[in-house]
Point group: C2
Chain length 226, copies 2
DNA sequence: TAGATTGTTAATCGATTAACAATC
DNA sequence: TAGATTGTTAATCGATTAACAATC
């Protein structure tokens, strides 16, 4: 089965199914129907059945899907039946929050390396991490054979860091920098820019400008986007 | 023009166009073609022209789109030609990072209220923010007439907080809690769960489990998902 | 004029939904 | 058996792309 035969939109939903099945398991459920899974996610039951049927027949008529077995299958399909080491670049406020975030370890991801270019930060410990000099990025990533990277640098540094990560063997990047990265097509990239999500909502909100401080907006023709 | 006549997938791209145009403006460009904008975003030129044509005719044959004017138009369309106040609930490591994040203010968003339920945090200052008791959430949000909320609480608290935000007048929620919220359909919700993004990438990575610590995985049948 | 680029149409492509036989 | 639910097909729906006349 070639992963590229699976529509990306289907791949995008699989982690949501897995996450929701985990909650169901914690509630003590041993079986879950496509209807109930869909209700919990705001997705149609038909869509869930169609998505899952691309990978096999996991359910049973009359009863639904066995929770534990489907979790195992989804973890296998998503390759999260193992622990993934990650490299983090940029230990500002956001990078620090990522270092402290328990949700990664709980779900099979581990920050193995953390880099910054600030001499005041290099060598310091944050939690159990020692911040390393970003100058040694390639060397350290190659040495640890790491395939996943996270970028929490200013936008101005992101492209260069991404290219160096890829040089060092990284194949997937989660970038918090508000800029689109130019990388070879075989490299997987996902982006998290909270302002993009906010603007997708304000499009629908409209209404009275509560706080349209024209002076403030004048000094912010666009946003500096460091 | 009814916003719901615009396909959501088009709305999703508009903020990306705006962000990229802002960078182009900072580079000193006064004009940008759909081809160049698409190149910078990994989107086809035809798609960009089609998206923008839903809102008007902004370009000029032979030269492309005037950067400054299109930025103004997109800001108007997305309703970010004003400052939006937001309420933040949950001031752990992530909430703190959000409080310090300069990118909100630079792009027209401002955290006006920050709440937590931890007595040790309530009343304390973080940067210029005073953490308020989440018990006063409805009152404070109504008083400030706030329409946007951000949730950075554990998943277990997110649903209740979301409902209370909506009661208080919030119409759009950006949630960092790894759970799907059940809310009335007119409420806009966007989710940021970094593990979901990582799993969308590991699906394609596969390869040798570098670090498949079976013992670790045994203690983590799914992830506790606090 | 010549080259470039828009806005728009029609064609293609892909995703979602409705429906139902199979079966637990 | 009766009720519920899957896996799958066909139909519908929506999004993307290719192409080009218009025009700067």
């Amino acid at each position: 089965m070639n992963p590229h035969d699976i529509p990306p939109v289907v791949v995008g939903r699989l982690p949501l199914y897995l996450r929701t099945l985990c909650y169901a398991q914690q509630e003590g459920l041993t079986t879950l129907s496509s209807h109930e899974l869909g209700r919990r996610l705001g997705i149609s039951a038909a869509q869930i059945r169609k998505d899952l049927s691309m990978f096999g027949e996991f359910g049973k008529q009359g009863t639904g899907y066995p929770v534990a077995a489907l979790i195992r299958q989804l973890r296998r399909i998503l390759h999260v039946d193992r622990v993934w080491d990650m490299a983090l670049v940029g230990v500002g406020a956001l990078g620090r929050a990522l270092l402290y975030y328990q949700g990664f370890a709980k779900r099979g991801f581990r920050i193995a390396l953390a880099f910054d270019n600030d001499p005041h930060k290099i060598g310091r410990r944050i939690g159990s991490f020692v911040i390393q000099d970003v100058a040694r990025l390639e060397e350290a990533i190659r040495g640890a054979d790491i395939r996943l990277g996270m970028i929490a640098t200013p936008a101005s540094a992101a492209q260069e860091i991404a290219e160096r990560m890829v040089d060092a063997g990284v194949r997937g990047i989660l970038s918090y920098a508000p800029i689109h990265l130019q990388l070879p097509p075989e490299i997987k990239v996902e982006y998290i820019d909270p302002v993009i999500y906010l603007q997708r909502m304000t499009f629908y909100l409209g209404g009275q400008p509560k706080d349209d401080d024209e002076a403030l907006l004048a000094t912010m023709p666009c946003g500096e986007h460091d």
